[in-house]
């Protein structure tokens, strides 16, 4: 293929995600892989697999933006943007009306508020603590010797309002053991874990005006997390079609924007890092976002 492609790579603490878009913002390829020890290697892996899915070559990549904790270790990226800005950008593209974005990642949780004009108004990250993050769940799952998927399935069968109250991953682990000893059903304990995370998220939410979208690996893989958040927030949340890829998607959209603004990228097949002639404005601008509707590109929720 000789189409211009735009790449976003989110080198997260647990997983590295890649999204490849065409210049109209349509999804051409994506991939996710464990970050492992080497962010650069993980970035190469997800890029290669995404390009394979896009039936494209590396030379088709016009511009790449990296994000996530390992954003500085992505060789292809022409610049780095924080995951806070990228998640907000991705979520806003899916849901232009969104006012708050909750991202629950492996290492941290972020709550981002955007103004009605789409600009970031405020954001918060969890403090230096695993409670309220994906790591919390992984740690407890490991302690229980139960796969995370199974904890999610158990949690969805919970019919009580059990919460794990401890404010700390280590103490939460102890609390779980105490509850097991006390004979509490596994379904309740499992749901309690998700509610514990949700209660930490609520602490970070300074505004509840407008729709809330949720992103990140935890909501992508655990329905119970979405349920716990909806219970805690007393409202339905928007779950995008690719929650775990929201940061990479935002990064790829920023890459398109950079190209359009003449701020980065290269000409097809060339090695230039600057642009000689910016492209025409992208086609297909629709009400749902500048690059078309959600369903057109990803399928509805």
């Amino acid at each position: 293929m000789s189409e211009r492609l735009f790449v976003g790579i989110d080198a997260g603490s647990s997983a590295t995600k890649c999204v490849v878009l065409d210049e109209r913002g349509r999804l051409m390829g994506k991939h996710v892989s464990a970050s492992g020890f080497d962010f650069a290697e993980a970035a190469e892996t997800v890029l290669s697999r995404s390009l394979l899915e896009a039936e494209s070559e590396r030379d088709d990549v016009t511009c790449c933006v990296s994000t996530g904790y390992g954003r500085g270790r992505v060789p292809l990226a022409h610049r780095q943007v924080t995951e806070i800005t990228c998640h907000a950008r991705g979520a806003r593209e899916w849901y232009p009306q969104v006012r708050s974005i909750i991202d629950i990642g492996g290492q941290d949780t972020k709550v981002i508020h955007v103004n009605s004009d789409g600009r970031m108004a405020e954001y918060r990250m969890n403090s230096k603590c695993a409670a309220g993050t994906g790591t919390f769940l992984e740690s407890i799952a490991l302690k229980l010797g139960v796969p995370l998927r199974e904890i999610d399935e158990l949690a969805m069968k919970c019919v009580t309002d059990t919460v794990i109250n401890s404010y700390c991953t280590v103490f939460a682990g102890t609390e779980v053991i105490e509850r097991i000893k006390a004979g509490q059903p596994r379904e309740d304990i499992s749901m309690g874990l998700f509610r514990s995370i949700a209660s930490r998220v609520v602490e970070m939410l300074s505004s509840r005006s407008g729709p809330i979208a949720v992103t990140g690996g935890v909501v992508a893989h655990c329905r119970a997390m979405v349920r716990a958040l909806e219970e805690a927030l007393e409202t339905e949340v928007l779950l995008p079609p690719l929650p775990q890829h929201a940061g990479a998607y935002g990064a790829a959209l920023i890459a398109i924007g950079d190209w359009e603004a003449g701020k980065g990228g290269r000409q097809i097949g060339g090695g230039d890092t600057t642009i000689s002639t910016p492209l025409d404005p992208p086609l297909g601008r629709g009400e749902a976002g500048p690059h078309g509707s959600v369903s057109e590109r990803f399928g509805a929720k």
Binding site: R79, I84, T85, Q107, K128
Partner: protein, 416 residues
């Protein structure tokens, strides 16, 4: 938004070399005073009544400065556990804990920096709780350790308006302190000498204030990080001619920078405010991060803590009582909010960073909603970062750097 890593070169401050020799002289003099039976050493809190001690003829040492040195040396976390082991909570002041722990371990950064064994043995320890109560317990630890008297002043705290009654009360406590010292050491205070010391203290403080005010220029000739380095004389040498001379020289250098348009942060794009304590172990990394983001921290509450009002030549104790009571840290939330807004306006601040220092609640102002109020009522973008003044275990570099970069991205969006 952050481009790929670039390195921006800062312009060195010429007075730096003089500062080094000035501080070396100060510490070597303290060390010799501690071993000379004819001379006496007092320990004093950083915004405490040091002018009285100087006027009595004591050489004055400031343990908080030592705590900051332990932090900047990135060793606090090695010594805090020693203090915790003898009953001091890990969640109380890491200056105090690392200082106590270092003393228990027989370590001091003064050994390497100035070739002296460590803090000079005190003849008296004097505190003021105008900044926090922790200093009182910190001082008592060393009082017991050295079998040395501990004396102090407890001004009324968390004040909105500072009234004549408040000042009169503190003045009375200072007078009582003078009497205690006279009795304990069989000395008589020379009031003319006190006036002279207070005048020098006020002069150094006034020059320091003028120096900080040069950062109102666009571009700013100095940053918060420069302030952290060059503030030492206004704390530890307050009341000396050397401090006055030093700040006259530094002020001239900054005024020259303003005249010549020399920027502390080349291509200054954002002007920030730092609220709360510095993160001493991460000063270099943070300084470089802001430099590369072309963001200058043009003003801070911390550096302003030693910018006192001018002494009019009248009652020196009244001036001391007033300045000690009026300081920012000793005021209520509303007064602090008004102060911050005035600073934001005068320094043309784009956004404010609040440091939530885990072990320093008294010098952390993001715990009662102030950051949110400033954002919502006054539309000032704010960022709260978690960390600590000295104990690096409470600080996540990766998370903080992401927070700071995202804040700059937010400010860029606002400017578009």
């Amino acid at each position: 938004m952050q481009s790929k890593a670039t390195t921006v070169q800062r312009v060195e401050i010429k007075a730096q070399a003089r500062l080094r020799s000035l501080l070396k002289d100060y510490f070597v003099n303290l060390d010799s005073a501690a071993t000379d039976p004819a001379r006496k050493v007092a320990w004093c809190t950083s915004v405490g009544p040091c002018e009285i001690l100087t006027a009595f003829g004591f050489e004055v040492f400031f343990p908080e400065n030592h705590g900051a040195m332990l932090g900047a040396k990135k060793v606090s976390h090695r010594f805090v556990p020693r203090a915790v082991g003898v009953g001091y909570s890990a969640e109380t002041c890491s200056y105090m804990n690392s200082d106590i722990g270092a003393a228990l371990a027989g370590y001091s950064p003064l050994q390497e920096a100035y070739g002296i064994a460590g803090p000079p043995k005190p003849d008296v320890l004097v505190y003021s709780t105008n900044q926090c109560r922790e200093v009182q317990d910190w001082w008592y630890f060393f009082g017991r350790r050295h079998d040395t008297p501990v004396m102090g002043v407890c001004p009324p705290g968390h004040l909105g308006e500072v009234t004549e009654e408040h000042i009169a009360f503190v003045r009375g406590r200072l007078l009582a302190l003078i009497q205690q010292i006279e009795t304990r050491f069989d000395l008589r205070l020379d009031w003319d000498r006190l006036r002279e010391v207070v005048a020098l203290s006020s002069r150094a403080s006034g020059l320091w204030r003028e120096l900080l005010e040069t950062a109102r220029s666009h571009p700013s000739p100095l940053t918060f990080f420069d302030g952290l380095i060059h503030m030492a004389p206004v704390i530890v040498m307050r009341g000396s001619q050397q401090a006055v001379d030093y700040y006259e020289e530094l002020l001239t250098e900054m005024q020259d920078r303003v005249r010549d348009g020399v920027a502390a942060v080349p291509d200054e794009r954002f002007r920030l405010y730092w609220e709360g304590m510095p993160v001493w172990p991460k000063i270099r990394e943070l300084s470089e991060k802001f430099l590369n983001l072309h963001a200058v921290i043009a003003a801070s509450t911390y550096c302003n803590s030693w910018a006192f009002e001018e002494y009019d030549g009248g009652d020196p104790l009244w001036w001391m009582a007033k300045t000690a009571t009026e300081i920012f840290i000793n005021r209520d939330e509303q007064t602090k909010e008004v102060f911050l807004l005035d600073m934001f306006r005068r320094f043309d601040i784009d956004g404010a960073i609040f440091h939530n220092a885990r072990t320093c609640p008294n010098n952390t102002n993001s715990r009662f909603g102030m950051a949110q109020r400033l954002r919502e009522r006054h539309e000032t973008p704010v960022l709260v970062i978690d960390g600590d003044l000295s104990d690096v275990r409470f600080f996540s570099t990766a998370q903080t750097m992401t927070n700071i970069e995202a804040f700059i991205e937010q400010l860029e969006e606002r400017k578009r």
